[in-house]
């Protein structure tokens, strides 16, 4: 059975879910969406003694328990101890127990009992949380052209396990449908696209849907691969004195290990250096080589150096600055 997540159907594209786990999640989600906020998502089976109820933090939570015939009311217990409703903020009504403006401290195992026999009529494990907000997505081609890596985060803590469905399509109106963006583990906040089209003016569109028992939220992130190229910082920066050269320093570094093909997709580098004690750094470059001789330096002074990398043909952005390395030019003794 195929189901559509409404918020992803921007252009009528289908989002096929092939696994039964995902289908079950969608079914539960659709049931929840049609219920009022304090509705019970009763996923109990006969074997499960404490069926879960997920309700929204800050809402008035209703734990249903019908009063049995002939009884004046029901007795409520939470985590085994009796709930004294007269003293607490909890309100016992005909329908059940109401927790106004529910807070995280009120999570627990609730049970309602026959007042005379003490028999348990209903058990509910209450978990409180929030539906997810729209994820904030970032994608970068750190390892161009092999993969595109995407990460995302939820705007607020929802206190519930949230899964993410990560799919992408190439082209706004792609006929091929959506492909899965591979996550390293279920529930991870990252994924990678391994099938990269080069030289394409057509954007990719990444669709991240956050799903938890209280709701879903979708964000779309369109991008053109060449425009999100950003290598990791260069590695192994070394600053060395040059014998008998009192105003020079030799800098050497390596391209980032995550850049897969530096000989076919060369990088260019910016160098930023500061003399210890002065405030302002000086930035020079870009250069294609992975070494450079700084000149015009003060003998005996300490210099702090950093390097950044960018695709040579100028697509995308510069990397972050590398960790700092320091050195002093050779000084005549």
């Amino acid at each position: 059975m195929r189901m559509m997540i409404p918020s992803c159907a921007m252009d009528g594209a289908q989002a096929p879910f092939g696994t039964s786990r995902m289908r079950w999640t969608v079914q539960v989600v659709l049931v929840l969406l049609t219920c009022p906020v304090f509705c019970i998502a009763d996923s109990a089976t006969e074997e499960d003694p404490w069926p879960l109820q997920h309700s929204a933090l800050g809402s008035d939570v209703l734990l249903r328990c019908a009063v049995p015939a002939g009884a004046a009311g029901v007795e409520w217990r939470v985590n085994g101890t009796s709930v004294a409703t007269a003293l607490d903020v909890l309100v016992a009504t005909e329908d059940g127990l109401v927790l106004p403006n529910a807070s995280l401290a009120q999570e627990g195992d609730y049970s309602c009992h026959h007042p005379a026999s003490g028999e348990a009529l209903r058990r509910i494990r209450l978990r409180l949380g929030l539906p997810p907000g729209k994820p904030a997505i970032e994608c970068w081609a750190i390892s161009y052209p092999q993969t595109v890596n995407c990460t995302w985060s939820l705007p607020a803590d929802v206190h519930l396990d949230t899964e993410f469905i990560a799919m992408y399509r190439h082209g706004v109106w792609a006929k091929g449908g959506e492909t899965e963006c591979v996550q390293p583990a279920a529930g991870a906040s990252s994924c990678s696209i391994n099938d990269v089209q080069l030289f394409s003016i057509t954007p990719y569109v990444l669709n991240i849907t956050a799903v938890n028992p209280l709701g879903t939220a979708t964000s779309l992130f369109p991008f053109i691969v060449e425009h999100i190229i950003r290598p990791d910082p260069p590695e192994d920066l070394q600053v060395s004195a040059i014998p008998s050269e009192s105003k020079k320093l030799l800098l050497e570094w390596k391209p980032p290990g995550s850049w897969p093909l530096p000989e076919y997709f060369p990088l260019k580098y910016l160098i930023r250096y500061t003399r210890q004690g002065t405030g302002s750094p000086r930035t020079i470059g870009p250069y294609e080589q992975t070494s450079f001789i700084l000149t015009g330096l003060r003998p005996g002074a300490i210099y702090h150096v950093q390097v950044a990398a960018k695709d040579l043909t100028d697509y995308g952005e510069y990397s972050a600055w590398s960790p700092q390395a320091s050195g002093t030019p050779w000084k005549r003794r």
Partner: protein, 260 residues
């Protein structure tokens, strides 16, 4: 400065200048503000999406210095003829790549709305016969030298013809824009230069030139409406720039392969 010996063909073209060549190592450095603005994409809209064209703009040199640099580089590469031809073609492709971004912007500005809207892009728009550059990375990597170069040869033959069509269209649609027409003519001349350069690379590597598919009959080119012609010109300029991106990568690969 004329380098001694060797055959330079179209390489040391005086007026081209402007693009610093990465073959020539920079000595002494120069202050350079951080380059490279990556624009976060705009929100998707129905129909014409608002995308950033994302120009890769290499820093520019004055004309004379650029030409001098080009000649210096070619002098360095004089010893090895294969490396020499690849170096020439690479330099030219880099030059054309920067110029193609300017051409696309100039073209869009001249067409009026909706093309002239800032950030205009219509990636779903195409035109039959205009060669597209896109291909999956493993396919690009696995191309043999022959296939790789013939792909370029066929594409630029088509672009030379299409740029002529676009120039004719623009002469009719916007006769009062001599700068755009000059830009298109310059692009066409440079494509001819690039084709010659690529031909030299093919000869140096012993690659047999292909015949390629027959060009779309240009007779039907005149049956398009004014709006369709503007669309066609946009597709040509956009795909031309994308192809130059591919050619630069192709030549970088060949340079790495044959320079060792």
């Amino acid at each position: 400065m004329i380098p001694a010996g060797g055959k330079w063909g179209p390489a040391c073209l005086g007026p081209l200048g402007g693009d610093p060549d990465p073959w020539a190592p920079w000595r002494g450095g120069w202050e350079h503000p951080r380059v490279g603005v990556s624009w976060m994409p705009g929100f998707l809209r129905e129909g014409m999406g608002a995308w950033m064209p994302g120009p890769p703009h290499p820093p520019r040199l004055p004309h004379a210095a650029g030409t001098l640099l080009l000649c210096l580089v070619l002098a360095q590469a004089a010893a090895d003829p294969t490396a020499n031809t690849i170096a020439q073609a690479y330099s030219l492709a880099r030059l054309l790549q920067a110029d193609a971004t300017d051409l696309l912007q100039a073209y869009l500005s001249a067409q009026g709305p909706p093309f002239s809207a800032p950030g205009f892009a219509a990636p779903a728009l195409g035109w039959a016969g205009v060669p597209g550059a896109a291909l999956p990375f493993p396919a690009w990597r696995g191309l043999g030298d022959g296939e790789r170069l013939r792909g370029n040869q066929v594409a630029y033959a088509a672009y030379e013809a299409f740029l002529a069509v676009v120039a004719d269209d623009q002469a009719q649609l916007h006769p009062g824009r001599p700068q755009l027409l000059a830009h298109l003519a310059r692009a066409r001349a440079r494509v001819r230069g690039l084709r010659a350069s690529l031909g030299a690379v093919m000869a140096a590597l012993g690659v047999v030139p292909g015949t390629g598919p027959p060009l779309v009959a240009m007779a039907t080119a005149n049956q398009a409406s004014a709006f369709e012609r503007k669309c066609r010109g946009y597709v040509v300029c956009r795909e031309y720039r994308a192809w130059l991106g591919r050619t630069v990568r192709d030549l970088t690969l060949l340079r790495a392969k044959y320079l060792a």
